[in-house]
Every structure is written in structure tokens, then in C-alpha cells.
């Protein structure tokens, strides 16, 4: 089917502004195929159903809109107190001096830009593959664009139980930077890894992470997106889960005029578990979109989506979450909750929860609410001597708790709670 003229023009303009690596090595075929996918799908347009609540213009246009950089003040760098392997990117460019040695027992870790110099690589089975699987039944052209043109990224092959997390640190120092990173993680049977991500990355950031989780392997992902307000980001996670494997992802977003986080999960082995959660806080022209698609294609799997947003002064929150249960996926346990706390009458929360079920023995529940602070609880706290502002903050953190509790590691969870509290105390930093 031919693309509408406007969309075709926009897509052509963007593609013309991009350049493929000169020596793509083993990524070459995947990149070429992705270019073709983008051409066929066209980049997201305002009329696309999947972009009904989020205007894609600034994510699609050839040049990244300018975004002021931001100094975090006295707030310590994220995950600073955690023993981890640090990989630093500044405006999407690898910073070797600031990074740790790319070596850790139980895994092999490389940069995409280096690894693609060879003709053969394990990541060939992952790079662009999970993204391509995730293109059906809904197009995700920005992810295909990333597969085609990503300049760098991290490839991790995990064979053991690795306790030390790998941390991707993203700094934003140029007001016009347009970064595109693509990460692949492959966990072998029984392997374990936690990946941390933090920071705004660039004026505009397109990030893709593909995660292949083999049988009984466990993957955890905790991300904070940086307090820069003017930055824009479109991120995708694609994951495929084997038998009895576990995938857990949590994202904290504070500030940001445009964030779209997509998570595409495929449960292909029996008894697998996938949890994806998010806590977002913003005010003014904050726009935050969580889009999730979970496919149950095996027996007795569990999936959980917990998304909470605190919105103020005209901020907008979006949630599009779908659970697709295929015909054979009996005993599916699916849970989905999306809630917003509207701290004033100007903010809005747009939610589109969807269930599509073809199996007859499943338990799926979903809920979506928008509301203000509970006045009764507020009075109860105040009657105990807690000032209004502090009581409101406490109730706001309580509202976010269900999402934050999805982080299993206590130290990481406490760090996230501290950051959320810090944001509330600063009232927009």
C-alpha cells in the first residue's frame, strides 16, 4: 500500500539526512533490511492511531530540536553508590576515559561500533531481529530507523550469573545532539544480569535495546531518564523470553518535554515472567508516553504492567498498554494498571488499556484511574502535625510505591525513592 504523500515526504527527508556506516560488517544485512522496513512503513505521522496521544513530529523531523543542557545541582550522579561496570556515552558518543574496562566475569561486553568491524558475530541473531519481530501487529518505525542507523551501542553476551550491574551512563552536553544507540543483550540458559541506564543522552535520543532471555535466565533493567526538561527521547525495548525465564524493567522519568518509551515483550517459553513498570513525574509542558505490548505465546506465563504518573501544571501523561493472549497460551496471568495523580485541574492523562485474548483459561485484569490527592488521608496526616506540603509528598510517594516496588534490589529501590522524593522537594528542578 502506498504511503500518504505527507508521510512519504517526511520519511524520505529523514532517510536522506541519515548515513549508514561505511563498513557495517555483519550488521550490514540487518541495517539494509531495516532501511527497507522504514521506507515501507513510513515514519510515524500525526494521523497514525498508535500516535494518537503523542505528536511524533519532533521525533521524526530531520533535525533534532535544540534542547538546553541541565546541571543536576547537588544531586549525586545516579547509581553512584552502586558497585557497577560503567559505560559512558556523551551525546551518543562513547567516552572511553570515563568508562570502566569492558570486562566482567560471566559475560562478554563489546561496543557495537567495534564489533561490527568483523563479518561474524553472535549478536547477528539478535540485532534487528527482535525489533523486526516486534513490528507486527503494530509498526514501530522509529525502532527500525534505529536498527538501520545506530552509530554505537553495547553488545552483552551473558553466560553466568553476574551480580555486578552494567550501567549505561548517558550525558547530554550539546544542545543540538541527535543520538542513536542500539544495545543487544543475550542471556544464555540460567544466566543473570542487571542493566542500569541513566541520563538524558542527547537533545534527541533514539534508543533501542534488544534482550534475548534464554530458559531460566533472569534479566533486570532499571532506568532513570535524567532531569533535563527540554530533551526528547523515543526508546524501545524488545525482549523474547524462554521457559521459566524472568524479565523485569523499571523506568523513572522526571521532566522532559517529549518521552515515548515502548516496551515489546514476547513470552515464548512456558512459565516465564515479565514485569514492566514506570514512575513518571512532570509539570508544565511535560509529555510522557508509555506504550507496552505484551504477547503471551506459551502456557502459564505471568505478565505485569504497573505505570504511575504524577502530573502538574498542565502536564500530559499517556499510557497505551496491550496484552495479547494467543490461542495456546492457557493459564496466562496478566495484570495491568495505569494510574495518574493529577495535582491540579490542568493536567491530563490519556490511557488506552487493551486486552485481546484467544485462550479460554486465563486470568487477565486491568485498570486505569486518574485522581487527585485523597483529602481524607491528607487531613489525617495534617492532624498528626505533618504540614500540607510534606503530607502531599508522602501521599505522592505512596501513590508511586506500587511501581517502585517492582524493583527487587533494595539499594536500587531506595535510590529511586530518594530521587523521586528529591524531585518533589525541589518542585521542578
Amino acid at each position: 500500500m502506498a504511503l500518504p504523500k505527507v508521510k512519504q515526504t517526511a520519511t524520505e527527508e529523514r532517510l536522506a539526512a541519515m548515513s549508514l556506516p561505511e563498513a557495517p560488517g555483519w550488521t550490514g544485512p540487518a541495517r539494509d533490511a531495516a532501511v527497507a522496513r522504514v521506507g515501507a512503513m513510513g515514519l510515524p505521522g500525526r494521523r497514525d492511531e498508535y500516535w494518537k496521544f503523542t505528536r511524533p513530529d519532533t521525533l521524526v523531523q530531520a533535525e533534532a530540536p535544540r534542547a538546553a543542557t541541565f546541571e543536576g545541582g547537588d544531586e549525586a550522579p545516579t547509581f553512584d553508590g552502586i558497585d557497577r561496570l560503567k559505560v559512558v556515552f556523551v551525546d551518543g558518543v562513547f567516552d572511553e576515559a570515563a568508562s570502566d574496562d569492558l570486562a566482567l566475569e560471566g559475560l562478554k561486553i563489546e561496543r557495537l561500533a567495534e564489533a561490527q568491524k568483523s563479518d561474524l558475530h553472535w549478536a547477528r541473531d539478535v540485532y534487528g531481529r527482535l525489533e523486526e519481530r516486534g513490528q507486527s501487529p503494530v509498526d514501530r518505525p522509529l525502532a527500525a530507523l534505529n536498527t538501520a542507523f545506530a552509530t554505537d551501542g553495547i553488545l552483552i553476551h551473558v553466560s553466568g550469573k553476574v551480580t555486578k550491574p552494567v550501567h549505561f551512563v548517558y550525558h547530554h552536553k550539546s544542545e543540538t545532539s541527535d543520538a542513536m544507540l542500539h544495545h543487544c543483550v543475550k542471556l544464555e540458559e540460567g544466566a543473570e544480569l542487571t542493566v542500569l541506564e541513566s541520563g538524558p543522552a542527547a537533545a534527541r535520543f533514539n534508543n533501542v535495546m534488544e534482550v534475548e532471555v534464554a530458559d531460566t535466565a533472569r534479566f533486570a533493567h532499571i532506568r532513570t531518564q535524567g532531569r533535563d526538561h527540554e530533551r526528547r527521547a523515543a526508546t524501545h525495548i524488545f525482549t523474547r523470553l524462554g521457559t521459566e525465564s524472568t524479565f523485569k524493567s523499571f523506568t523513572m522519568t522526571a521532566n522532559g518535554v517529549m518521552t515515548r518509551n515502548e516496551c515489546v515483550i514476547e513470552l515464548t517459553g512456558d512459565d516465564a515472567v515479565a514485569h514492566v513498570a514506570g514512575a513518571a513525574l512532570g509539570d508544565g509542558d511535560f509529555h510522557h508516553d508509555d506504550t507496552v505490548f505484551i504477547t503471551h505465546d506459551a502456557v502459564n506465563c505471568e505478565s505485569r504492567q504497573v505505570f504511575k504518573k504524577v502530573l502538574r501544571n498542565g502536564a500530559t501523561g499517556v499510557f497505551q498498554g496491550k496484552i495479547l493472549v494467543k490461542a495456546g497460551a492457557q493459564k496466562t496471568d496478566g495484570y495491568q494498571i495505569s494510574q495518574s495523580l493529577l495535582l491540579d485541574g490542568d493536567s491530563q492523562f490519556l490511557a488506552k488499556p487493551e486486552l485481546e485474548i484467544y485462550a479460554d483459561d486465563v486470568a487477565c485484569s486491568h485498570g486505569s484511574t486518574s485522581g487527585a490527592i485523597d483529602e481524607t488521608a491528607l487531613f489525617y496526616l495534617r492532624s498528626r502535625g505533618v504540614p500540607t506540603q510534606q503530607a502531599t509528598d508522602l501521599l505522592t510517594l505512596a501513590f508511586l510505591a506500587e511501581a517502585v516496588d517492582e524493583i527487587d534490589d533494595e539499594a536500587l529501590r531506595e535510590e529511586i525513592v530518594d530521587r523521586l522524593r528529591g524531585w518533589l522537594e525541589r518542585r521542578r528542578g
Binding site: 492532624s383 502535625g385 505533618v386 503530607a391 508522602l394
Partner: protein, 252 residues
């Protein structure tokens, strides 16, 4: 201590007068009980004193140790030493009971210009107070009042009272929803907090709580006014004869 003069209150949203001139004086170390039929204005009095929204004071005054309460925010009244034990304690999912208690204690200390209590010191302090009230550690870890039984909720109110150490305690129908054993436990907790410097206002519909918390003075409230004041024997009179003889002529 607590002094209420000719207090008149109407609902903010509708033109309905609830309190029609209440006079009451509770001195330090005294326990006063307010009894009365449903709808007489007992709970409204407790809410107005603690500063809940939705009520409009149309006349009169209320002071605690000479300080005007009615102009203050609820948290300021609490810092002055006023405490309301709720008839229906509020459930707050996501806030741990321990966090809640520590936040309250430290907020009040801060308001009084005192140093905040460290987590370790607080833990020691709270455990000691909880033990005295037979509250097990598990109740401290759970979210505030969530999934608590009626008795646990009321004991949690008394625990808050014990850690906040208020000057003036108002107990709003603390006996409601409690069986006899739970009520005894709560009453024991309250009695343990009776000191020379602390006043109590016990609001109750039934006399039975007053068997366990012995009042010095009993007031009968009807149709927004105190219609009779007497000693503990007044409560027994109500128990035997009901409220009919005390009702205001308008109601009768």
C-alpha cells in the same frame, strides 16, 4: 487547658447549623466525656476542633492554653498539643506505619524547634511504646491501617497518641466497632496515658467505654448544645433510661 465558648458551627456546603452554642472547659489532668444521641453534633465538635475542612464557624471560640485554635491549620493545632483519635482511622496504602509515625513525630519536633529523631533512636522509642500497648512489630511494618482489624486500628490511634504525647486528647467514638476485649485493651492504653498535665475529651454514644475510662465529668449533648453536665453517675443514668429525658424541647 481546652476552653470552648458559645461555639457555633454550620456545614460549609449547606445551610445547616450543627453546633448551636457549645460551652465546655476541660482542665489539665481531667477526663471529660461527651455523650449524646446520633446526630447531636458530637463528632462535628471533634472535627471542628481538629480543623477539618467542610465546616464554618459562625460564632464563639475555642482555645488551648489560651491560644486560639480556630484560626490555625490542622498541623499547627497538632503542634500545640491537640490530638484527635479518629472514629474511622484512615487507611493509607503505600505509607508504612513506621514512616508515618516518624514523619509525624519529627514534624512536630521541628515545629517546636527541636532536633529530629534519628531512625535508630526512633525505632527504639517506638518499640518501647508499642510493647506497652501490646502492638506487635508486624503492625509497624504494614501500611498505615491497611488490612488492620477494628481493634488494631484503634490501638494504632492510641499508639500515635502515645508517641506524639499531646496535651489534649479527643477520642471520637473510640469504642465503635470494638468487641469487649479490644475495648479493654484500648482503654488500658488510654489510662496509661492519663497524667496530671494531660486532658481528655472522650466522645461516646454508649456508657460502656466509661466503665473502663473513668471520667471526671460527663456532658450530655443534644441538638448542637450541651444540655446537662454532671459526674460519672450521669452516664449510668443514660445507660438505664436512654437519652429521651435529656433531649432538647425542639427535638422532643
Amino acid at each position: 487547658m481546652l476552653e470552648i465558648k458559645n461555639l457555633q458551627v454550620k456545614l460549609e456546603e449547606e445551610d445547616k447549623q450543627i453546633l448551636k452554642g457549645v460551652d465546655l472547659k476541660v482542665g489539665a489532668g481531667e477526663v471529660h466525656a461527651i455523650m449524646g444521641p446520633n446526630g447531636s453534633g458530637k463528632s462535628t465538635l471533634s472535627y471542628v476542633l481538629s480543623g477539618r475542612d467542610g465546616y464554618e464557624v459562625t460564632g464563639g471560640e475555642a482555645t488551648l492554653d489560651g491560644e486560639d485554635l480556630l484560626d490555625l491549620e490542622p498541623e499547627e493545632r497538632a503542634a500545640l498539643g491537640l490530638f484527635l483519635a479518629f472514629q474511622y482511622p484512615v487507611e493509607i496504602p503505600g505509607v508504612g506505619n513506621m514512616t508515618f509515625l516518624r514523619t509525624a513525630v519529627n514534624a512536630q519536633r521541628k515545629a517546636k524547634g527541636e532536633d529530629e529523631m534519628s531512625a535508630a533512636d526512633f525505632l527504639k522509642f517506638i518499640r518501647e511504646r508499642a510493647k506497652a500497648l501490646k502492638i506487635d512489630a508486624d503492625m509497624l511494618k504494614r501500611p498505615v491501617n491497611v488490612g488492620f482489624s477494628g481493634g488494631e486500628k484503634k490501638r494504632n490511634e492510641i499508639l500515635q497518641m502515645a508517641v506524639l504525647e499531646p496535651k489534649m486528647c479527643i477520642l471520637d467514638e473510640t469504642d465503635s466497632g470494638l468487641d469487649v476485649d479490644a475495648m479493654k485493651l484500648v482503654a488500658e492504653g488510654v489510662n496509661a496515658l492519663r497524667t496530671e498535665g494531660r486532658g481528655f475529651l472522650v466522645i461516646t454514644h454508649y456508657q460502656r467505654l466509661l466503665d473502663h475510662i473513668k471520667p471526671d465529668v460527663v456532658h450530655i449533648m443534644s441538638n448542637g448544645k450541651i444540655v446537662k453536665t454532671g459526674g460519672p453517675e450521669l452516664a449510668l443514668e443514660v445507660e438505664n433510661n436512654g437519652y429521651a429525658e435529656f433531649l432538647d424541647t425542639e427535638e422532643a
